[in-house]
């Protein structure tokens, strides 16, 4: 076995395949430890609290490395740390709070959205806030008068949009009057003049200028960081592919051994079931199971295994077992009185295990892509993030037509890298374990 392994590593394709697979396994282990299962599900459920400070459908930040591209990242400002805040009392029960937050904006493109989140405590009446915007040219714009609590989404504020000549805040407030296509670069200031109506009342604010790029992987339509989905997609895909391959192959293997050993009618029945199974449209049946019963990845896994046990591979194994069945050492075993089970498990099966290995490795991508296909069709697991689900989201939001190609490309690349790595290893294993192929 170890000399086979050495032989295997002499093939560059096997070495590369093994390297990629081990890398993916390491990433999977690290991911599952750092983002536990329940946390991953919570994050991917994507309630508004978790992701509200993330931009929508933002490209990964690495896009800014490309020449000529300089898209803004998200700017997150809070009155506690980034601004100057001074408080003075106007009258007995009215306090005026002045908050100014300056920030630097040096990008060639507009932000994607703007929001202000107020954090206030009050007894009876909500604080009143006057919002002002000062651009690098020193022009001051009155953004609006609002209640100082909750979230204020400036980009969907119709009154503000009208004031800015029909442009939403994140464009209108940044646009250069001389060239409306470009934002003015420089220091902007947001000024808030708040009035508190109780002596214990407080007012703080956080402003988020949502960027067009985010993190290593970008975000999706629900502001979720795709990194979470991509990272968790790897262990899910690997586990699905591996378990399905183990489940299906081992069972096929056992059944072929038993069928051949007992021969006659049992083999006939198995062959017939295999022929029926060949005609079963597996993907539509899985879709039906997903639609009518359960979309849980484990149920689908079980169904996949059940439907692939009697795959066409049964015939290949059967032919091999038939050859071994006639070998002299089997006759010898029979002669000394070995039982059926002993012959099947100790003599027939061990002989074929090496031949099984290449097929086992090369079939894994098929199952990985089967799961992806089901997910892309919209029948993926309801809770778990999977690579296929990300592609499904991207596809149903026409990502490649809306200039959001990253959304589709990243999970796809992970899938294809995984698939090619296993396939490369499988092909080479085939050469190593099938001497007849090694000669040619």
């Amino acid at each position: 076995m170890s000399d086979k392994f050495k032989l295997l590593l002499r093939y560059p394709s096997a070495a590369v395949g093994l390297l990629i697979i081990s890398l993916l396994i390491i990433i999977s282990i690290v991911t599952v430890i750092t983002i536990p299962y329940s946390e991953a599900i919570r994050l991917w459920r994507g309630d508004s609290e978790t992701w509200q400070e993330y931009p929508r459908t933002a490209w990964p930040a690495w896009i800014n490395i490309l020449p000529g591209i300089n898209r803004p990242t998200t700017i997150n400002l809070t009155s506690e740390t980034d601004g100057v805040k001074d408080t003075r009392s106007v009258s007995e029960d009215i306090t005026e709070v002045n908050i100014t937050i300056p920030f630097n904006f040096q990008y060639d493109d507009f932000p994607s959205e703007m929001s202000i989140f107020f954090k206030s405590s009050y007894k009876e009446q909500k604080p009143h806030v006057e919002l002002f915007w000062i651009n690098p040219k020193g022009e001051e714009i009155h953004i609006g008068s609002l209640e100082g609590s909750g979230a204020h989404r400036m980009s969907v504020d119709d009154r503000l949009t009208r004031k800015l000549g029909g442009k939403p805040a994140h464009i209108g407030l940044f646009a250069d009057p001389d060239n409306l296509e470009l934002p003015i670069k420089g220091e902007y200031t947001i000024r808030m003049q708040g009035f508190l109506f109780g002596d214990q009342d407080t007012l703080d604010a956080r402003m988020v200028v949502y960027g067009q790029v985010h993190g290593f992987a970008g975000t999706d339509h629900l502001r979720r960081d795709l990194m979470v989905g991509l990272l968790w997609g790897i262990p899910v895909a690997l586990a699905f592919g591996f378990l399905a391959a183990v489940g299906a192959q081992l069972n096929t293997f056992l059944l072929a051994a038993i069928g051949v050993w007992y021969g006659k009618w049992l083999d006939g029945i198995f062959r017939w079931i295999t022929q029926v199974n060949l005609i079963l449209p597996i993907l539509p049946l899985l879709i039906m199971i997903g639609m009518f019963f359960s979309r849980s990845i484990w149920v689908i896994l079980g169904a996949v295994i059940l439907l692939s046990i009697f795959g066409s591979y049964y015939f290949v194994l059967r032919a091999m077992f038939l050859q071994i069945k006639g070998a002299p050492y089997i006759d010898a075993a029979k002669a000394y009185g070995a039982g059926d089970a002993r012959i099947i498990f100790r003599y027939l099966i061990p002989k074929i295990i090496p031949v099984l290995l290449p097929q086992f490795v090369s079939i894994i991508p098929a199952y990985v892509f089967l799961e992806a296909t089901i997910s892309v069709l919209g029948l993926g697991d309801l809770h778990l993030p999977t690579l296929g689900k990300i592609i499904h989201d991207a596809h149903s939001h026409a990502a490649i037509f809306n200039g959001q190609a990253y959304w589709m490309i990243q999970p796809s690349i992970l899938l294809i890298v995984m698939g090619i790595a296993f396939a490369m290893l499988g092909y080479t294993l085939d050469r190593v374990f099938n001497p007849r192929l090694r000669q040619i």
Partner: protein
């Protein structure tokens, strides 16, 4: 050389034999003898095809039965039936003036009674197993009544028509792709087996693992590159809208729309097929009788055709049939990605709308398509595999 001589000698001897026989028995008898030999192999082939037809037919029926069982675990078939009954009763009531003019609550009562009668007539109150034969028949004939929200291109709401009207588009797409795939892979495989070890050969081997990804996967990238980044080809659909009026315009538009999906299918399968067929060829070209033929100095094209291609054809057909089987159902998402108006897109849409009857019907159509694929493979087998003709067993 000696072998060839011997064979030549043998033939001469048998010719003399024949000549003597002809003298003795006369020409008439000889003709009938050849024809009876032909007849015998014809009956063998016919019997083989009949047996395969029955086996596959039974397999299809069992497969559809299984589909019905899966569908009716959740009672979905009953729902389809009940919806159909309600629809029929509704139409009947609208036609019938005596019921239509009744007050609303009485009319509802009459309708409910009619529905109950129909349900009893169709045996919906009987246990599932007793209803299965009926369901099987309606499944085999795709008789699933009307779809609640979907319509066929011609405007019908009958599930059978919705499905059957989508079939030609699927057949056009996959027929074209399969034809290209078969001949391209065969050509490349023969070409590479001649140039074993060349850079091109190694490149194809290196590309074989890319076939791990299904066609829809490459389809998305092809759309991204050739319809979005460099918009030279249409991103989806079967013909442009509105469809061209002239036959030539229509054909041209169809070809233009076929390029990307067919390329996606080819890309996902051609390398692995080339690789495995090339291996078949290489194994067979190292057989002794091929060496012999080479030694005899036969032209290499003849050796390829008669000594290598002929014996490798059955395993190639078998491997191609297996590729086709995965391709049919794997094409569901490919069609969805390219909005190709075939069965796959229908399935995709039906999933989105939760149209149970259409999903079930499409699953059954796929079972028929798979059965047909295997049956055609068997017929081809009967024609090219001499073992069938002389009666020493089929392809199993």
């Amino acid at each position: 050389m000696p072998l060839a001589l011997k064979r030549l000698g043998g033939r001469t001897v048998s010719n003399i034999d024949n000549a003597q026989n002809q003298k003795d028995i006369g020409e008439d008898k000889n003709v009938s003898r050849t024809s009876s030999l032909l007849g015998r192999s014809f009956t063998r082939i016919a019997r083989y095809i009949l047996v395969r037809f029955l086996t596959i037919g039974i397999a299809v029926v069992v497969g559809i039965l299984l589909t019905i069982f899966i569908a009716n675990w959740g009672g979905y078939l009953d729902e389809i039936k009940k919806a159909t009954i309600a629809e029929q009763v509704g139409i009947g009531v609208r036609e019938d003036a005596s019921i239509r003019d009744l007050p609303a609550d009485e009319r509802l009562k009459v309708i409910n009674e009619l529905i109950a009668i129909q349900e009893r007539r169709l045996g919906l109150d009987r246990p599932f197993l007793a209803r299965t034969p009926g369901y099987l028949v309606s499944a085999l004939t795709l008789n699933f009544g009307w779809a609640p929200t979907m319509t066929s291109p011609s405007g019908s709401r009958e599930v059978r028509l919705i499905i059957l009207e989508r079939l030609p588009a699927t057949l056009v797409l996959f027929g074209t792709a399969q034809m290209f795939l078969f001949f391209a892979a065969l050509f490349f495989a023969l070409f590479l087996s001649r140039r074993y070890g060349s850079i091109l050969d190694k490149a194809i081997i290196a590309l074989a693992p890319t076939s791990a990804a299904p066609a829809w996967f490459y389809g998305m990238f092809l759309i991204l590159f050739f319809a979005v980044l460099i918009p030279v080809l249409p991103f989806g659909g079967m013909v442009e809208a509105p469809p061209p009026q002239t036959t030539w315009g229509y054909a041209l538009s169809l070809i233009e729309h076929l390029i990307l999906p067919v390329s996606a299918i080819l890309f996902s399968a051609v390398f692995v097929s080339t690789y495995s067929w090339r291996t078949f060829f290489l194994i067979h070209s190292s057989e002794d009788y091929v060496e012999m033929a080479k030694a005899k100095g036969l032209p290499s094209s003849l050796i390829e055709r008669k000594y290598v291609l002929r014996p490798t054809l059955p395993p190639i057909i078998m491997s191609f049939a297996l590729t086709l089987i995965t391709m049919w159902t794997g094409g569901i998402l490919l069609e969805g990605v390219f909005v190709w108006p075939g069965l796959g897109t229908l399935f995709f849409e039906a999933i989105g709308r939760g149209e149970t009857a259409v999903i079930l019907g499409t699953t059954i159509i796929y079972a028929y398509l798979l059965g047909l694929t295997i049956f055609i493979t068997d017929i081809i087998f009967a024609l090219i595999d001499p073992r069938v003709k002389i009666g020493t067993g089929g392809n199993s």
